[in-house]
Subunit: 194 residues, 2 copies
DNA sequence: ATGCTTTCTTATCCTAGGATAAGGCGCGGA
DNA sequence: TCCGCGCCTTATCCTAGGATAAGAAAGCAT
């Protein structure tokens, strides 16, 4: 996908959610920096400060953390139409605790946190857009917390399949296990029993 | 606390986060409905549609879900300065999946979802305030997901004590256990070992 | 084609924490 | 003052899922 197509993709995404004149988008898009990431390349490494939001127009990223024992825990899959970033680091300028890498060759549009305040002032509709985005993310995360409190490994997996059909076909199972909070061996066991 | 004091409390909360002229707050406050909840009374029962946001000015609420086996899972403690609600139900008008009850006699200010759109239009600063609120809630929830993926019961408990000092002194331990996703017996065991 | 690497599976053994049961203690109400 | 109940603890026994180890299959790179 060339950069132009990527911009169109983001414009469609935004206009499906908030009213945004093409003329305004035309100005907004100057803040975007296209980037391509090859499979397994990192967008962000834990410890670096996170300075950008990334919008995926093609491919798939994942954000994850590493615990003391060297175990990876996947926090988010970000296929087309998703934003990723370490929001905590982005907001506080603290070193990031998350890493972000590419599960496939991936096309991104980067938006600098430093430009966001300007954008909010210039186009207040973005304030609304990000409020709506954060709201729906919050609801999704709350559902995930709820699932982690109340469901068995098998239930969590089935819930994941229902909620994110497509992802399971696309990403290796051990990443899904690390998203669900179980080992790849357990996931394999669970799948055998279904 | 009389209603006037409650209003002042919310005004201070808002003005600490966004610029909000007293004159604007004076208009905004007409949308607020004070309410008092006695210990163990419910603000919301799962199945009802959730129509309001509640801001706690005194006391403490909790939101929780009930799974198939009748087990309660605490999703949020809401002491003074916190908003609570079932945001999913609030946004979609679907029946709520959460219940909310009072852990102590609690004073609230209620804000109808139906009025929020008006408020956003009238005072765009509220759009920003709720964006900031949602952002920080999202970060906190993500940290919680991360903890649930990577920590033992004991670590989760210690993390909770650090993150919410005050709550542990205030609410019965079995609620904390249900927040951490462990049984009260396990929490007791964990505490003995510390 | 032939190794490497990545992914997934299966088997065995082990442990953190759940289930169940019982008892203690403090407090509010009659 | 005594009852009842809400809350916490302890003990025992049990199970879901982790740890470890070993292959097998599939894809890629040379």
């Amino acid at each position: 996908m060339e950069f132009l197509a990527a911009h169109h993709f983001l414009r469609a995404h935004l206009q499906a959610r908030v009213p945004l004149p093409n003329a305004d988008f035309a100005i907004f898009q100057r803040y975007l920096r296209p980037q391509i990431l090859r499979k397994r390349q990192h967008l962000l490494l834990a410890g670096e400060p996170c300075t950008h939001l990334a919008f995926v127009t093609q491919g798939c990223l994942r954000s994850y953390s590493l615990n003391g024992q060297g175990h990876e825990h996947t926090l988010q899959f970000a296929p087309e139409d998703w934003w990723v970033s370490d929001i905590y680091s982005l907001l506080t300028q603290q070193p990031s605790t998350l890493s972000i890498d590419a599960l496939e060759d991936t096309h991104l549009l980067l938006l600098a946190q430093a430009d966001l305040e300007t954008i909010y002032a210039q186009f207040p509709i973005f304030e609304r857009y990000f409020r709506l985005l954060m709201q729906s993310r919050y609801v999704a995360l709350q559902e995930r917390v709820n699932a982690s409190l109340s469901q068995t490994a098998s239930e969590k997996y089935q819930h994941f399949l229902r909620k994110y059909p497509g992802i399971a076909q696309r990403v290796p199972q051990h990443f899904i296990a690390s998203y669900l909070g179980i080992t790849p061996e357990s996931l394999s066991r669970v799948r055998r029993q279904l």
